[in-house]
């Protein structure tokens, strides 16, 4: 993968946001997360599937998520992720910052229209 530019690095936060949001609905394994994000964004947001794991590790290191090996419905061993209490607080903050971002984008669009 291409090396991310610095501006986009901050925006990696939006991937974090999507992960936090999805995990807030239910604990999930990595593959399930990628499927869910793609499905919710109607294919518009194509996530390189492997790139979700660095984000998960990052979130785990911050203490926002927890991991646990569980058995799936198909009796397979898989690593599940779920939100911690700190993660829920951080999720609230992330949503607020996202709203700021969206209104900034709206301003851009309004200026053009």
């Amino acid at each position: 993968m291409a090396k991310p530019a610095s501006n986009e690095q901050v925006l990696q936060g939006t991937l974090d946001l999507l992960i936090l949001k999805t995990l807030s609905l239910a604990p999930m394994h990595g593959w399930g997360l990628t499927q869910r994000i793609e499905q919710l964004s109607r294919d518009a947001l194509q996530v390189g599937q492997g790139s979700i794991y660095p984000a998960l590790v990052r979130l785990e290191q911050r203490g926002w998520i927890d991991t646990e090996w569980r058995v799936t419905e198909n009796s397979r061993r898989a690593k599940y992720y779920r939100l911690t209490a700190a993660g829920r607080r951080a999720f609230g903050n992330e949503i607020a910052s996202w709203q700021r971002f969206v209104s900034a984008v709206k301003l851009v669009l309004a200026a053009e229209g």
Binding site: M1, G50, V108
Partner: protein, 895 residues
């Protein structure tokens, strides 16, 4: 925090790359992920290995999956392509106006480009339809010291060169100037175009007969009976006249009442010497002709030996020229030297298309320009749209979507739009190729070879897809350099500089092209106006002409004049017809060239056209009689009386008072000297193209008493003439044909047209080129105006805050509007300057089409620039007014 994340990423990156640091757990997690994705892919219908490869690839570009990636790429591409297509279609549906604009612009641009490109390629570039056609050459014999002889050979001199030369596999000769032939048996006589060819012309071109056989060498031997009676006919004639009769071989046919036998049918694809040739005669063996430097009448083609190039062949033939003097007593070294005799060798293809090359090259450039403008506008549309979509892209990028995936989406969208445009482009191209823009075989050689094929369709679609993809890529490069933060920061400022520069550049280019085309259109328009307002020297209104050629049965002047007089009387009796005359070459058609001088002084001869006309010809054509009289009975006896044009009188006698003087046609290589008595002087007319100016003309009387007609090719045979009729209303063509047929059922009247249409034909080149360039110029101007408008109004929208503040600080609204106009002015000024440079360097190529206007005519340049500046600046008026009306209070509220 940034450094924090970067550190974390680096650590994880190491985990990713190094197996030593990779936790067992993580490997298992990855494996699980891939297996789940594989299962999902199998449910979508992939085979197990495919599904696994696809899953590995979607997981990410890790080194150890690399080899399998290569194999699986096809499968994944299909999967991704479907996804990208869905995405592209969704985007297109969201902006139907944008899509329609792109599809229409590209459709017209590509359609016209491929259509014209097909024609230009088919005529100029494609190989001639003969095997190994690059070896085929035309061999010319030039005597630059004697004007008016072209590059024709005389048979013996050709034969001498052909026998001595070693560069050629074959050299053959032909002549195709016989247009006075008709098939005279059956119910309806039919005018046919014949060519005489030596047998090896057919074999060296590699033609195979559709039926029967080709000529044999013995067919060329002359006998007392007048040579072989064998002829070949064209497939077209065979189908049209003989209903594709399979038993045609051996059939007898009367051509000009000579008895001929059809020995073969040549296929439709064979179009030598011209596509209209329908009967081939064997050309008699060259040994029997008169060796001559003037009076040459055969053309020569040949096939080069392997490994011999054109310049070698030419040098070898030229080395042989002096030996002509040794071989033929009638050719002296002095004559060779005086006439500057030399031989030229040129590729048959280049010779065939030489007359139209400048126009077609121009057409090709025009096509490129139209396509460039269309593409430029589409790129502009895309850029505008990309600017709006760039936030979306930045988000996708930030979510870790591979750049390649995003690039692919742009390219796929471009391709989809490009392909959609071929829905318009295909019919447009097909129309262009099938109508050929109204050009005919007569104006452009090889035109009949141009067809709309599957290859053209494939080329068009490929072209549309590539242009679409290219446009998508250009739009993408716009997004590649900048990140989202720039854009958020930029929300209150002007759009990024690089983008504006690119867009300004594109619009300036459009303005430049528009100006160059306007100048060209102006120059051609002026030429056309000049041509149409030239004093033609005759009055084409209410006149018509018809071609009548009498068969060989008319052996004497008495017989031919009797025929013409009967027909003229009957035509004159028709209601509405006021006058009928006979002439060999009506105005604007070239006549026979010859040399004359004054008998009584030593001045050198001048070149003149000679023509033959009935006494009332000048009255019918309204050619003014300046001095003396027209012909009267008796003029044909003794020293024939002739009427000369003003220009001829001036150049021979230095005065128009030439009545009573004697003209002399000097003797040349055995032909007798001839004398003529000038009985009248008439006004000048054009003998060929109007552009070439008036032609000196000598008219001989068409009312000779007894005596046989001269030999074929010696000129002055009134067998092959044009009737010119003045009247109101003019008779119908069918009436004219009926009358001629009633006088002699074997004689066809052909080529019936008004003299107005002859005048139209004489200006057709300039008219068509003017039309094409005019249309291109109008399109370029319109696109330029739209371009200026969009760029200026976009830039103005970006500066709305600035305008608001200026107004709030007390600036006059007019000054604010002026700021916008200055923007536009800068754009137009740069574009115009570039356009003038472009026009100055390009209009030179129009020179051959210009008449009495120079390629750098100040008036046309100034006029075109004025039109362009007015039109494009008017495009800025609306945005300027909008800027002036900015409401500062509202602006500040929005902030």
């Amino acid at each position: 925090m940034l450094s924090h994340i970067r550190a974390a990423l680096t650590r994880i990156g190491e985990v990713f790359r190094s197996r030593a640091h990779a936790a067992r757990e993580q490997e298992e997690e990855f494996r699980f992920h891939v297996e789940m994705e594989t299962g999902e892919n199998i449910r979508r219908g992939m085979s197990r290995p495919e599904a696994r490869r696809a899953a590995l690839i979607r997981f990410g570009g890790q080194q150890r999956f690399h080899e399998e990636t290569q194999e699986a790429r096809g499968v994944v591409l299909v999967d991704n392509l479907a996804r990208d297509l869905r995405f592209a279609l969704r985007r297109i549906r969201r902006a139907p106006g944008f899509a329609a604009g792109v599809i229409a612009t590209l459709g017209v641009g590509i359609g016209v480009a491929v259509g014209i490109g097909t024609i230009v390629y088919g005529v100029l570039l494609r190989d001639l339809p003969y095997p190994k056609s690059d070896q085929l050459v035309r061999v010319g014999f030039h005597t630059d010291g004697i004007p008016g002889q072209g590059e024709l050979h005389s048979p013996p001199t050709f034969y001498h060169l052909a026998m001595s030369g070693s560069s050629f596999i074959e050299l053959g000769s032909y002549s195709d100037d016989d247009n006075a032939f008709s098939i005279t048996d059956g119910d309806a006589p039919e005018h046919v175009s014949i060519a005489r060819v030596t047998p090896n012309v057919l074999t060296l071109l590699g033609v195979r007969p559709l039926l029967g056989q080709l000529f044999e060498p013995r067919d060329t031997l002359q006998s007392s009976g007048g040579g072989s009676r064998a002829v070949l006919i064209s497939e077209a004639l065979w189908r049209r006249r003989y209903g594709a009769d399979p038993a045609i071989i051996g059939r007898r046919v009367a051509i000009n009442h000579g008895d001929r036998i059809i020995i073969g049918v040549l296929p439709r694809t064979f179009d030598f010497p011209s596509a209209s040739t329908s009967v081939w005669y064997p050309q008699s063996t060259p040994l029997f002709g008169r060796p001559s430097i003037i009076g040459r009448y055969i053309s020569v083609i040949g096939r080069l030996r392997d490994g011999i190039d054109i310049s070698t062949a030419e040098a070898r033939l030229n080395a042989l020229v002096p030996s002509l003097a040794a071989r033929f007593p009638s050719i002296t070294p002095e004559i060779l030297k005086q006439s500057a005799a030399r031989v030229s060798v040129a590729s048959l293809k280049s010779v065939t298309v030489a007359p139209v090359r400048p126009e077609l090259v121009l057409l090709g450039i025009l096509v490129a320009v139209v396509l460039l403008i269309a593409t430029t506008n589409v790129v502009n549309l895309f850029l505008l749209r990309t600017e709006r979509a760039s936030q979306e892209i930045a988000i996708a990028l930030s979510l870790g979507a591979p750049r390649v995936a995003i690039a692919r989406r742009f390219v796929v969208e471009g391709i989809v739009l490009g392909l959609a445009s071929s829905i318009i482009a295909l019919p447009a191209a097909a129309l262009a190729v099938s109508t050929k823009f109204g050009f005919s075989e007569r104006e452009i050689p090889r035109l009949h070879e141009v067809t709309f094929t599957g290859g053209t369709v494939a080329l068009l679609i490929a072209c549309a897809a590539v242009i679409g993809a290219g446009v998508g890529l250009v739009a993408l490069t716009r997004t590649a350099g900048t990140g989202l933060f720039d854009r958020i920061r930029a929300s209150h400022a002007t759009p990024s500089r690089a983008w504006r520069r690119a867009q300004n550049g594109l619009v300036a280019l459009q303005v430049a092209i528009a100006l160059a085309l306007l100048v060209a259109a102006g120059l051609l328009g002026k030429s056309f106006w000049n041509l149409r307002n030239v004093d033609l020297g005759f009055d084409p209104a209410n006149t018509m002409a018809a071609h009548v050629s009498l068969p060989w049965g008319y052996g004497t002047y008495e017989q031919t004049t009797a025929f013409h007089e009967t027909v003229m009387d009957r035509l004159a009796a028709l209601p509405g017809v006021t006058d009928v005359a006979v002439v060999m070459h009506p105005p604007l058609t070239p006549g026979n060239e010859g040399q004359v001088d004054a008998d009584d002084d030593g001045r050198p001869s001048v070149t003149t056209m000679s023509n033959t006309a009935s006494p009332n010809y000048f009255r019918v054509m309204r050619i003014p009689l300046l001095e003396g009289r027209s012909f009267q009975p008796g003029d044909e006896r003794g020293i024939p009386g002739v009427v000369v044009s003003e220009r001829l009188a001036m150049s021979v006698f230095g005065t128009i008072h030439a009545v009573g003087r004697t003209l002399r046609e000097p003797s040349r290589e055995g032909s007798r000297e001839r004398l003529f008595a000038v009985v009248g002087v008439v006004g000048d007319v054009h003998g060929g193209r109007i552009e070439d100016g008036y032609t000196p003309m000598m008219y001989l009387p068409l009312l000779r008493g007894g005596g046989p007609l001269p030999e074929e090719g010696a000129g002055d045979e009134p067998r092959d003439v044009q009737y010119v009729i003045r009247g109101r209303p003019l008779p119908a063509a069918s009436t004219l044909q009926r009358i001629v047929r009633e006088v002699d059922p074997r004689v066809p009247a052909t080529d019936i047209r008004t003299l107005g249409s002859i005048v139209d034909d004489a200006t057709v080149r300039v008219r068509l080129t003017m039309l094409l360039i005019g249309v291109a110029a109008a399109a370029a101007l319109l696109l330029g105006v739209i371009g200026v408008y969009s760029v200026v109004s976009y830039a103005a929208a970006g500066r709305v805050r600035e305008f608001g503040i200026r107004l709030a600080l007390g600036a006059a609204p007019r000054r604010v509007g002026g700021l916008v106009l200055v923007d536009a002015l800068r754009l137009v000024a740069v574009g115009s300057a570039a356009g003038l440079v472009m026009a100055l360097s390009a209009t030179r190529f129009l020179r051959s089409l210009l008449y009495e206007v120079t390629p750098t005519s100040l008036t046309e340049f100034a006029l075109a620039t004025a039109v362009l500046v007015m039109a494009t600046l008017s495009a800025a008026v609306l945005p300027a007014r909008r800027a002036a009306r900015t409401d500062p209070a509202q602006m500040l509220r929005e902030d």
